[in-house]
Symmetry: C2
Subunit: 475 residues, 2 copies
């Protein structure tokens, strides 16, 4: 038996024994090559063989997935969303805040949390740096941190982009209090109260918050669960109503986890450029890819300074420090002004602590560990939901990040399910949070899989599954 | 010679020898009683004697001051401002930011800085607390700091008000990124873009920034340099145009340093209550009083929840941590919502570090030292300006804080003076920053006296004095 045949047989065995489930992503060619110490060609041959045998299938831009086989539990694919293209006022923050709070109040299992497992973070290491910085600068002067932010942190952020294959101008970077502030300032720089903003459907509520904060309106655009926002649908909306800006999450979108292809990213930027419409790109999960390489950004396709790219360290390094940034293209000076007006400066020591960490510590090593853990946990969570949730449940196929988007039967009310689960000290993210339409994603939930898989989590999934019929009453 | 006569003679000697200058405030009865270990009655008798001899004079709510005597250099009193009551758009932030930056770029003597001397702060002590906190909570979860903020810090803030004689409801407190964010959120909670906000004249530009951020308009109200906003003038403006809110700094206003009397505070709150107009109170200098006791707040006179009180630790404990708060009265829930939308949470470790400091360390001792230093430096700076600046210069009589407001001859342009001084690596605060009217305070400058008096500072005052005629050309 040749090497590639041996590998193919091994993978087929994992599928037959149920270790790999239908619909699950298998490790990439490069990952398998590294783990098995085989050449890329050998692995590719094995995958082609498995594909020809109908064991796996390749999906463009996504990788290889286990094919559906008779008799096995199957996670059905989500469909493209088809929201009505009518703009609406946004008023979602009260629901989001109370959902987040319930995690704290009940000390509940945080499957509804938007934050990664804090035990993954190097908080102590960062605080050692913070302490060293404070010792070196006992009389820190806030004037040194006026917008755009601490120069050393800005240099490190620019270097990080370069390491990820993107050249950015450090002079464009504005440091902010988390990506939240970055997104807020960017939106305020490009649109005014009452304007309409085009968003994905479902939308990450952080985007909706920014719209709500400014008293703007949102219109949801049809979005494919694996390919992202429908550029043709957006074009139609632009033709029919004035759109002041667009807000998207092209990589590992919360909640669907898709990664837009380079072609689609380019097409989106070209469409918006033709209409001179700025686009705010939320890239907070970019570093948490499961594939072989860092995904491209919309900004990389921008020729006219219309992409306002936002990101942070809150999903990859520390939620406690609240350090984000914006690369606002041609709106840089306006964003800097609004930063100054909004919070004056970003706290100094957190900026310097992160700068020191980036300079001296193993950020790459840390990220590799996170990516590997999240990729594995994505498979396990998907498999568990597929196994335990009622037939007809549909799930996303995240290619990065740490959340799974789950569509339940139409009669299930996610808010009822959320409340039932809370009584069992389990939180889920109700679908209502992801839309401006009152019942937009009524029968969807978001599950966080950043925590290491445990008996407790598995039991929680079983419990949620058991509660689903109850949450359907009167639906 | 009786004890009080001896004390009176001593003070008279200080006046005659020029140690105490005309117009300068002398230590309060209580301070003198403490320093000289004399009874309050003895000191009072000495002061009455000096007053009867025409050496000092008492001013209501302000204390005792050295009287003008022939032949001595005299600092003339500022007059009540008389701005035209026409609202205007606000666009002052670019000037303020470039002024602040120039301090950094030129490493200039920061007489133009709005921040206190950072060497007064216990940054290392705070960072030790931060480090200890981080060690105790290695897996800090951001969910614990959702608005309204860290519970322990909130408890400490409420306790601090109690220690200062004011009972506040801890459930009303919202922790923010500095007072800047607190003021912004409060303004956003009570008014909308295009609305007109009544402000003091001159106005602290932090207030103007909040108005500019929201695209609102400002109308300046006549303000007395020692007594504060003219309540009758404000009443007239309210009768003539719709006023959505009022923003004031009743204690140690930046730049004039006045403290409104309790009667005037009460009258202001009553007027606004009659018209159901909310008032945002900026109290960041409240702890930096030179008198015997903590000043009262507008909030203490509020019966209807219309006072939105804002403050921070940035002027008293640390500029680096950027921790402020709001007590937004009946607008509490709206402010909390906007906090969540604006920056999600306030960084955790800085909140906890300050909470630990307040619990365990000598905040009162630290504040007493600051107050004493600032009160002394106020006298020295006033004396130096009086001595060296051209005749006709008028100065404020700050009763707290650390800035002096200086009116130069009408033909002096403060922007020209600012630029000339910058060539000598000295900054001053140009009067233009304190008004929405283009030439509102053209011939005024603000001087920071928080730094310990030194030959360098004295030389800088001499240099500025020398540049003043040059700054008058073409004026």
């Amino acid at each position: 038996m040749k090497l590639y045949e041996k590998l193919a047989a091994e993978i087929e065995g994992l599928v037959e024994s149920g270790v790999l489930l239908a619909g699950e992503r298998i490790p990439s060619v490069r990952q398998t090559s590294q783990h098995h110490k085989l050449s890329i060609t050998t692995v590719l041959r094995a995958y082609v063989l498995l594909e020809s045998k109908g064991v796996i299938e390749s999906r463009p831009q996504s990788g290889y997935f286990v094919r559906r086989r008779t008799g096995q539990p199957v996670a059905t694919e989500l469909q493209t969303s088809r929201p009505t293209p009518v703009s609406a006022e946004v008023d979602v923050s009260a629901l989001v805040l109370s959902t987040l709070r319930s995690i704290r109040v009940n000390d509940a299992l945080p499957l509804g949390s938007p934050y990664p497992d804090p035990s993954l973070f190097a908080l102590q290491r960062l605080n050692q740096y913070g302490n060293a910085v404070a010792r070196r600068h006992p009389y820190w002067n806030v004037i040194d941190d006026l917008p755009p932010g601490n120069p050393e942190l800005i240099r490190q952020i620019a270097r990080r982009y370069l390491e990820n294959g993107q050249s950015v101008d450090p002079n464009e970077i504005i440091v902010t209090v988390g990506a939240t502030e970055a997104i807020n300032l960017c939106l305020q720089a490009v649109a005014k109260p009452g304007d309409t903003i085009a968003v994905e459907s479902p939308t990450f509520y952080a985007m909706l918050h920014a719209i709500e904060r400014m008293g703007m309106r949102a219109v949801e655009v049809s979005t494919h669960p694996r390919e992202g926002i429908d550029v043709a649908a957006l074009a139609k909306i632009i033709d029919e109503q004035p759109i002041a800006a667009c807000m998207v999450m092209p990589n590992f979108q919360n909640p669907m986890g898709f990664q837009m292809s380079d072609d689609r990213k380019r097409a989106l930027v070209e469409l918006l450029t033709r209409h001179d419409i700025p686009v705010i790109e939320n890239g907070v999960y970019n570093e948490l890819y499961y594939g072989d390489s860092h995904p491209s950004t919309l900004k990389a396709f921008d020729t006219r300074g219309l992409v306002l790219h936002c990101s942070s360290f809150s999903k990859t390094l520390t939620t406690a420090h609240r350090i984000g940034w914006a690369l606002p293209g041609r709106y840089r000076d306006r964003v800097e002004k609004f930063k100054f007006l909004n919070t004056l400066t970003t706290p100094s020591i957190p900026q310097l602590a992160i700068a020191e960490y980036l300079k001296n510590d193993g950020y790459d090593h840390h990220l590799r560990k996170m990516r590997k853990a999240f990729a594995q946990q994505a498979s396990i969570m998907s498999a568990a939901v597929t196994r335990f949730f009622p037939e007809g449940t549909k799930i996303s196929h995240p290619l990065g990040g740490y959340v799974l988007w789950v569509e339940l039967a139409p009669e299930v009310d996610s808010m009822t399910l959320y409340q039932l689960a809370l009584e069992h000290r389990i939180t889920v993210g109700p679908g209502y949070m992801f839309s401006v339409r009152k019942h937009g994603y009524r029968n969807f939930i978001r599950l966080n899989y950043s925590y290491p898989w445990s008996k407790d989590i598995e039991q929680a999934i079983v419990t949620i599954a058991r509660l689903i019929p109850e949450a359907s009453r009167g639906g």
